[in-house]
């Protein structure tokens, strides 16, 4: 039953008689149908758009993945699962997953923790709250295009501010984007910065929703700020945190722009994340068949990850 129940649909007096009961089942059924229709009407615009621009193209990608195509994208011949076996035997799939998983590990926990700590610290500020909120939300308004160009300059080996700062501190310069050891870390640093705005805004907005009197009564009971954070903020914020986590992991698995601009998958494929190698397969090598096969594998991986999160993590989420 939905939350807006329909128990007032019938005068209470008649419901005791059997005729009333029959009438009641009929009208319940009708209300149920009406609620169904209304729900579908609410969903219709989204479903229609998804059908045309999401589900149909998805099927079409499955179709393409079983064919080889000419460079213009026209289907040339049916190859069965050959595109898939080629991905596994060449190591393209496993390498892509490895780099992408590492990238997610470097960006998601750090990004969430940073945003959570900053949101908690700014939540009860008396002075300068708006100023800090502005600063931490700021990265969100930058496109991946402009952000990557800015960081390209910061990472610049000789003109860049980062190496200049290291030099001032008496440290050796770092080959940010040119060494296979550093490149993925550098891109992760930039990505944590870029995601800070979104994570911070969503988490702060979740914190605003926690009623003040909870904190007040905890304070009367003598709870310190750390205890309040652990026992009130975190549990009540868990739906928001869960949301941020799901979105961040999916986002990490779909990153493309910063890699295209900063390293183009290099050096030595050290930043060749999954989506970038799909792009390379399809639009650089013009192998739409393997590109589609790879994209479908990415889809499967992301879906498994998300299902796992919904299955196990959402049990710990507390809804009010």
């Amino acid at each position: 039953m939905s939350e807006l129940d329909n128990r007032w649909s019938l005068p209470a007096g008649t419901s005791r008689t059997s005729a009333g009961r029959r009438l009641r089942t009929v009208s319940l059924k009708r209300l149920k149908v009406r609620e169904n229709m209304l729900a579908y009407a609410f969903l219709a615009p989204s479903l229609l758009l998804f059908g045309v621009f999401m589900f149909y193209p998805l099927l079409r990608s499955v179709y393409l993945s079983l064919y080889s195509t000419d460079p213009a994208g026209r289907v040339a011949s049916f190859v069965g699962l050959q595109n898939f076996t080629a991905l596994f035997s060449s190591g393209l799939f496993l390498d892509g997953i490895r780099v992408t998983a590492l990238f997610a590990l470097l960006t998601v926990p750090a990004g969430m923790l940073l945003a959570l700590v900053l949101a908690a610290l700014t939540h009860n500020l008396l002075r300068g709250k708006r100023l800090f909120q502005f600063a931490f939300s700021l990265p969100m308004v930058l496109s991946v295009g402009s952000a990557a160009v800015i960081w390209k300059f910061l990472f610049h080996p000789s003109l860049g501010m980062l190496n200049y700062g290291l030099e001032m501190a008496g440290l050796a310069p770092v080959p940010w984007l040119t060494s296979p050891k550093w490149a993925l870390f550098s891109i992760s640093l930039m990505t944590v910065w870029m995601n800070l705005g979104f994570n911070y805004i969503v988490i702060s907005s979740g914190m605003q929703g926690i009623p003040d009197d909870m904190y007040e009564s905890a304070k009367i009971d003598g709870a310190g700020p750390v205890a309040m954070f652990r026992q009130i903020t975190i549990p009540l914020l868990s739906p928001t945190l869960f949301f941020v986590m799901v979105v961040s992991i999916i986002g990490a698995f779909q990153s493309f722009g910063q890699i295209n601009i900063l390293t183009q998958g290099g050096p030595m494929d050290s930043t060749n994340v999954f989506v970038y190698s799909i792009y390379r397969e399809a639009f650089v090598n013009f192998r739409f068949g393997t590109g589609s096969a790879q994209a479908l594998l990415l889809f499967v991986v992301i879906m498994l990850l998300t299902l796992v999160q919904f299955k196990w993590v959402e049990k710990k989420v507390h809804y009010q």
Binding site: S2, L4, F53, L138
Partner: protein, 274 residues
Amino acid sequence: MKKHVARQAAVYLILIAAAIFALYPVVYSFFLSVMKPEEASAFPPSIVPHSFNPANFIDVFGIVPIAAFIGNTFLVSGIVMIGQLITASLAAYAFAKMDFKGKGFIFSLFVASMMVPWEVTMIPNYLTVRSLNWLDTYQGLTVPFLATAFGTFLLRQFFLQLPKELFEAARMDGCGHIRYFLLHVLPLSRPAIGTLAVYSFLNTYNSYLWPLLITNSEMMRTVQIGISMLEFQESTSWNLVFAGITLVILPSLLLLVFGLKQLVRGMSAGALKG
């Protein structure tokens, strides 16, 4: 008391350090945008500009028609934002507060579609838009993005958190779904809706690959393509590249200045807290 002051000071120190990390790249690009070319490519780099050359901004307009790009991008982002707010709030309401056949299945379809990397659908979508003759049009730029699984999920999470007492009270008043949705859920969800509005606007404003694929004429191009054209043409004149970046991020920066309160406002105090 002393301990309290020390703690406050530590909090502010951490926040200031973090704020520098967050702000510096942007402030630095503003600095670079007014430098003379010699200074922008000098070593050691200047932390603050020592030269002031606002002509950079005018020179950028000479290279690419940035004003037209910005206007275009605003129109497209506005259409997508309004469309997404309508479709997502309707769908989210159905998932959060209504009961219907196949709810679980349709919801998992939505969540699944959120996991579809858009690169999977890009080639077929391009073909669809081309067969509809929508290349180089506003329809082509907007219609594929009018529905959002992400936004639906965001609003659903928020709607689920609205207190049950509210429903009971509405039920007592004989309130139906449509009235309840329009008069109670939407106004109470202003923070989440505001978040989605700003987020979807910025997302579209910042999108790159799709506009690049489906627009050809200069007048249909969006701002992000403008930036890349600039970098392509003037890759050595960092001051001009950064003047372009500054012009491109200023509108969204203004949006943040005016939209921030809406974004982090939280629930309207009176309605839910007491």
